[in-house]
Amino acid sequence: MYFQNFEQLLHMDGHGAFVWAAYAITVFVIIAILLAPGRRQRRFLTQLAGELKRQRVTDSNAGEN
């Protein structure tokens, strides 16, 4: 470990704000692009499942009549 203590790590000789901001933005964007496809897939699958269930219900209703 290069830094002696936590404060030094945060401060980084005056460059801390820049370094941490850059890393924070990067981590944020990476998390966003990692999560986006999963969310899209789940939303699509739940929507499709709902559609299919509704369709099945209407089909069975039509069969009874």
């Binding site: 470990m1 980084m12 000789d13 370094v19 850059a22 890393y23 986006a36 496809p37």
Partner: protein
């Protein structure tokens, strides 16, 4: 050999195989990213000229490298779609564009933040920054063109043509911006030569470049899976998947 290509054209097979690839690639990517971040942030010595602000290199350079490579991946997929009419190539091209744009954005923002302590200003019309900005515009153009078409097959082909045109232009743009900058280069800004990078800084950088490539691959596969499902919504395997609650 040919059965491989036939399988590659089959959505359920691709969905399955990409799922089993992601199962080990995704944890590995996250591990490599975390290791690289911690290594770069905590365990490397500061640069003797730039101090600690140089630590941004561990995210800036990998993002820029992979963003450029991503454009070539996208254009190549577009070419495959145009020549062999492979639907999977279209899916890959469509999925690569937003990831590439996000990585270009990371490279630009971290570059700007790095510029403030190093050069004293957020934005410099430096050759590399300017060409990254143009790369972002190229990505956004492809995304905008795709969204503008109602017919998604035509959208894929149009974007393929556009990304191929962009691929031919990238070296020209890069070279001309480089030239332009050397004509106008203000004397106050000096660049530190990167020719002699110490191994203790090089290894975490190489790890991060590898991790970003893996990240690109993971995001590409996940985007492709989501895209595949929504394109194959009328088929039996997708319906089965939806009714089983999304477990494959």
């Amino acid at each position: 050999m040919w059965t491989f290509f036939h399988k590659l054209g089959s959505p359920p097979w691709l969905y399955g195989i990409s799922g089993s690839i992601l199962r080990w690639l995704l944890p590995l990517t996250l591990l490599a990213l975390a290791t690289g971040l911690v290594w770069g942030l905590l365990f490397t010595a500061p640069d003797f000229r730039q101090g600690n602000s140089y630590r941004i290199i561990y995210i800036h350079v990998p993002a820029a490298v992979v963003a450029l490579a991503g454009y070539y991946v996208m254009a190549l997929a577009g070419a495959i779609n145009l020549i062999w009419k492979m639907k999977m190539a279209d899916v890959a091209m469509r999925s690569a564009a937003p990831i590439g744009a996000a990585l270009t954005f990371i490279a630009l923002v971290t570059g700007a933040i790095w510029g403030k302590p190093t050069w004293g200003t957020w934005w410099v019309w430096d050759a590399r920054i300017t060409s990254m900005l143009i790369l972002l515009f190229l990505y956004l153009g492809v995304i905008a063109l795709y969204e503008a078409f109602d017919n998604k097959e035509a959208a894929g082909k149009a974007c393929a043509v556009l990304s191929l045109v962009g691929m031919v232009n990238i070296p020209i743009i890069y070279k001309s911006v480089d030239w332009w900058y050397s004509l106008h280069q203000p004397a106050s800004i000096k660049f530190t030569g990167e020719s002699s990078i110490d191994p203790s800084m090089l290894y975490p950088l190489l790890l991060m470049i590898g991790a970003f490539y893996a990240l690109f691959t993971c995001c590409l596969l996940m985007n492709m899976r989501a895209e595949l499902l929504s394109r194959e919504a009328r088929t039996n395997w997708v319906r089965k998947l939806a009714l089983s609650g999304g477990r494959d």
